[in-house]
Amino acid sequence: MARRHTPFGAAPRTPRWRDPRTRALVFQVVLLGAVALGIGWIVNNTLSNLARQGIASGLGFWGEDAGFGIIMSLIEYSEAASYGRAFLVGLLNTLLVSALGILLATLLGLVIGIARLSPNWLLRRLAAAYIETFRNIPLLLAIFFWYFAVLRSLPHPRHSIDLFGLAYLSNRGVYLPQPVLGGGPGWLIAGLILGVLAVLALHRWTRRRRNAGRPLPVYPLWLGIAFILPPAVLLAAGGLSWSLPALRGFNFQGGMGLIPEFVALLLALSIYTAAFVAEIVRAGIESVARGQQEAASALGLNRRQSLRLVVLPQAMRVIVPPLTNQYLNLTKNSSLAAAIAYPDLVSVFAGTVLNQTGQAVEVISITMAVYLTISLLIALAMNLYNRRTEWGVRR
């Protein structure tokens, strides 16, 4: 017989070009080459076009004087500061509104998500109405609503709403008394460290007591330590005074002012995202088997305790991944700030700086890289947290 006999169990030898591993390798090399060529062509084309049209390129503008003012900055900034500094101002404003937005949206979303499952009919319905309303309104409209309809209709500073002579509401913003620290930041840090140490000590002590069957109302104590200890240390060190806002000239002077652009953006972002967070929280809670709750009440835990100690910890592993997504969305959505003149990264850097310098390619690339970095950092932090909440799966 001409047919070649192969021993039992041994695969026939395939020619090299049909070997899937070789082919995969070849395809990957070809694809990589094509991508590299494509990138090279695009970069080259962009550069030569920029040069041909006489458009200056490079990052030389970074250190030049910005020359324009910004209404709100967390760091020292003036018109004489550099474009780089303006970038930093915009970045910090973006981070501020995102961080506060994430905090508010989480708290609000948690409360509403739990209320959505409440045995109380009215509470449940109200939560459902909230979710359906805000989830289905486009965010930009919500921002415009808060900015144009609500905050703009507040009175002029001269006729502002006076809250006991301490705070004022007007169409220029919210003015609050600002604490002026006598002792300096060093004492504040000392107070904070002391607070953390106290909380850790308390934690150990209450755990022992709880294990002994004599639990303490531990959360109020924690809050007390966190909010009272650092200011107390500060007060003892150098005293504390208050700067009160007062109307002088065109506007309020002194105190702490929140511009309406910031307030509108923060409200719109947190209220909008909270509706999504609430649904995620509901889904998480509903994913925990009913028996868990029944078991918790059989142990004698009340509804609050079973939610906090039994249900939520198990719900977290369902909640965290989509929650991460919402955090990313909120941060990216904060770029809608440009529509209402809140000086965020997009408005200041990809708006004014781009226009004053004309460096579109550089400025847009940097802006995209910044958002990418922020998103990756949030994802990283949430993934680390997620790993900690996965104990239910791995054990």
């Binding site: 049209q53 708006g351 690339s365 990418l372």
Partner: protein
């Protein structure tokens, strides 16, 4: 990450890759059959879309260039652009010509890859406030909140002015003019600042225009003019000389009503302007009758001004935009 980066560069690159394929803008416009012109999104007197038809000084200039190149002033596609978008639109080749109350500055002329074709309107930045504030000078504005357009020379000038005079201010900057004027009207700002022509133009949009006053200080020079991309001299010349033709026509008394009979004039200056003598049209790559098309369809500079700015409801006095022969700054090189 590398995929995203590639995509970024790809998208950015595509925007800039377009003009590489462009030959002479003139040929492109002719082949396409219409001119693509960038204008502002709505500034009475300069460019307003009313009833589906654009009107204004900047708009009329686009039409004049279309008349010069294609013989028909109606063959224009208008692209409304915000202050922030305008330069990228021109750089990327999305438009052939930017005629959008844009200030001629050194940076824009040198680093951004543009050529300014001249000045179509001499302007200067001013301030508008509510009459009830009882203010009669910009020097009294320390501590005020100012509304302005972002990414404009306005934003820089106001910073310069307040710094130079040691005054404090709070800037609220929006991308769109409509948002700026809405913010000012609702009382978010004490002051609205932009080019004086813009103040007059925007004032008529306010709820109660009579309640607002424009302060006397002019804090900057704002020569507004049309601009094109660098690197196409022929196109640059055509746009430049369209503007000069309209100014020269006014100086020589040629207007839309008499251009046909002036063509037979004995005045050598008029004959050269209207293409009866000389080869200026051919040198530009246009028909000999290109100026006749411009003037008969759009009129001379004075007609454009009268129609768009001096008439109701704007009533902007001609001021420094009068011809040099009347003591103004409008001065065009001769057709020779």
């Amino acid at each position: 990450m590398s995929k995203l980066y590639a995509l970024t560069v790809l998208l950015l690159g595509l925007g800039l890759a377009v003009p590489a394929a462009q030959a002479a803008t003139l040929d492109e416009v002719r082949e396409r059959g219409h001119l693509r012109c960038g204008v502002s999104q709505g500034l009475p007197g300069f460019s307003t879309p009313a009833g589906g038809q654009w009107s204004g000084l900047d708009v009329d200039f686009c039409r004049a260039v279309a008349a010069a190149v294609l013989g028909d002033a109606q063959k224009v596609a208008f692209t409304p652009l915000s202050a922030k978008e305008r330069f990228t639109a021109l750089q990327s080749g999305e438009i052939d010509l930017l005629s959008r109350n844009t200030t001629w500055t050194a940076t824009r002329d040198t680093a951004l890859g543009f050529n300014f074709a001249g000045v179509i309107f001499y302007d200067g930045q001013g301030f508008m406030v509510r009459k009830e504030l009882g203010i009669d000078s910009a020097r009294q504005l320390s501590g005020a909140t100012l509304c302005a357009n972002s990414g404009t020379t306005t934003e820089l000038n106001m910073a310069d002015y307040f710094r130079a005079n040691g005054m404090e201010y709070r800037p609220v900057v929006f991308e769109k003019s409509d948002e700026v004027i809405a913010a000012y009207d609702s009382g978010r700002c004490d002051v609205y600042t932009t080019d004086t022509s813009g103040l007059y133009a925007q004032r008529i949009k306010l709820k109660n225009p009579e309640a607002h006053v424009i302060l006397p200080e002019i804090i900057s020079k704002e020569p507004l003019g049309p601009l094109v991309r660098q690197g196409d001299d022929q196109w640059f010349n055509i746009v430049k000389w369209t503007l000069f033709a309209m100014v020269n026509a006014e100086e020589l008394g040629v207007n839309s009503a008499n251009v046909a009979q002036m063509h037979g004039s004995d005045n050598p200056k008029v004959r050269r302007l209207l293409g009866a003598d000389g080869s200026i049209g051919r040198n530009l790559g246009l028909e000999a009758g290109w100026t006749r098309a411009v003037i008969s369809q759009m009129g001379n500079y004075g007609e454009l001004y009268q129609r768009n700015l001096a008439a109701e409801p704007l009533n902007i006095p001609r001021g420094q935009n009068r011809l040099w022969t009347d003591g103004g700054l409008m001065y065009a090189p001769p057709f020779r």
